[in-house]
């Protein structure tokens, strides 16, 4: 489409990586809401603090799907502490840029990963907040940069 999407965004939108669910996931996170038109759900399979597998499901526009897809690629096989450091900026860079009005999708991708990690920490009796910081509640659509 003519929109100002990079080839990389279109590639990840047309051929999204790691779509699906993980039934016995060790951490699951969901951010966004239907009212805003974006929901991302991330599933993590973690062994020895390494992200062995990651899957996502996303309801949203082209860039929401593309940011989810590339974010899963960027954390797969990584140590959870490294994954926790993934920023929306890195996601945007990896996608070779996003239109300005779509930058919030990359924020959502970062938050979805943090939400899944947070779930993992909680399941293991660890308080996630000192590690991940506060994850803002999802009901507001106004998360533009």
């Amino acid at each position: 489409m003519a929109m100002e999407y990079s080839e990389k965004v279109m590639d990840h939108f047309m051929n999204p990586r790691n779509v699906g669910e993980i039934e016995d996931a060790d951490g699951v996170g969901e951010v966004g809401n239907a009212k805003c038109g974006d929901i991302m759900k991330m599933y993590l399979k973690i062994e020895d603090d390494i992200i062995k597998d990651v899957k996502f499901k996303t309801f949203g526009c082209g860039s929401a799907i593309a940011t989810s897809s590339i974010a899963t690629e960027m954390i797969k096989g990584k140590h959870i502490e490294e994954a926790a450091k993934l920023t929306n900026k890195a996601v945007v860079e990896a996608l070779e840029g996003l239109p300005k009005v779509k930058v919030h999708c990359s924020v959502l991708a970062e938050q979805a990963i943090k939400a899944a990690l947070s779930d993992y920490y909680k399941r293991n009796g660890i308080d996630p907040e000192p590690i991940l910081g506060k994850i803002p509640p999802a009901e507001s659509c106004h998360i533009h940069d």
């Binding site: 489409m1 279109m10 969901e30 009212k35 499901k57 309801f59 929401a64 659509c141």
Partner: protein
Amino acid sequence: MKKPFVYVDNSATTKVSDSCFNAMLPYFKEKFGNPSSIYSIAHDAKLAVETARKKAADAIGALPEEIFFTSCGTESDNWAIKSGARLAMKKGKNHIITTNFEHHAVLHACQSLEEAGFEVTYLPVDSEGMITPEQVEEAITDKTALVTIMYANNEIGTILPISEIGAICKKKNVLFHTDAVQAVGHVEIDVHEQNIDMLSLSGHKICAPKGVGLLYVKKGVRLPNLLDGGAQERGLRGGTENVAYIVGLGQALEDASKDIYDRNKRLEYFRNKLTDGVLSKVPKVRVNGSLKHRLAGSVNFSFEGVEGESILLLLDGYGICASSGSACTSGSLDPSHVLLAIGLPHEIAHGSLRISLCDENTEEEIDYIIETIPKVISRLREMSPIWNE
């Protein structure tokens, strides 16, 4: 195999027709004179503008001296509403009635008048995207300056009871404007019979180019000037005429107002086939807007669990051009005001898809769309965390 190209976004804009294109051509390089000049190529240009004016007038049942060419539908709407308001202000009136699902050209013009002290009533449309003449009648007060209500909606294609509203405005002696940008070519328009005081049209929805439109202003309505300048357009809108485009608009209007019945029959057949096909093949989908009072070639779906921009991107991959009222495609945080006005929840409005047909579409194209939409929707639903069969 060559990738198909199926253009079904004719409510957004249309391709210029051969008939219109050919009519315009001589006015770029041969008969390029300024209509206000004296020599023969100028006279030819002048004559062409007046012929176009006559064709435009005939298409909507107006007199040629009631037709004023403009640069677009938005300009026509702004002129009618803002100048109509100024006109009424002189009579001590300060109230405007419109609906809550107008095009932004009308809504934002009304909002700017609100800032200038006017009071605006935005009549709520019902879940079918309709308003009743009674709603209009009840809203009129002795302060009402202007009623402006669209003839047909650009997103959901519903056709409003314009003749009945015209009769009420006449009875109440209130100025009545209608934005007929989407209606022309699909409904029989007779401005005098229908008691329409002002009517906006735009070229690019009817196979003329973008950047030309007109405003019909009923004889006797002393609408304040839009552009102070030369004597063009009876001095109401100065500026050397866009001769070629005006000629194109005249031709397109002549073509559009011919064979309306046959065109609608054909488009309706395609539209119904498309609608039935999609409804039977895709679960959890609805059609937005009245099925009865609607433009022949237009249909607006909402698919649960998916988002509009994604639908459009995938359709584009199949060579299909359509549009959506989702927030992502409107470039704002909210989905289209039209879909919210008919009461759709945000999440359903985000999943909308508008398909608008034209004379050139073929039955093969319709079949191709029917075949493609289910693939696109199920692919997105498989990815969607809020979809469960």
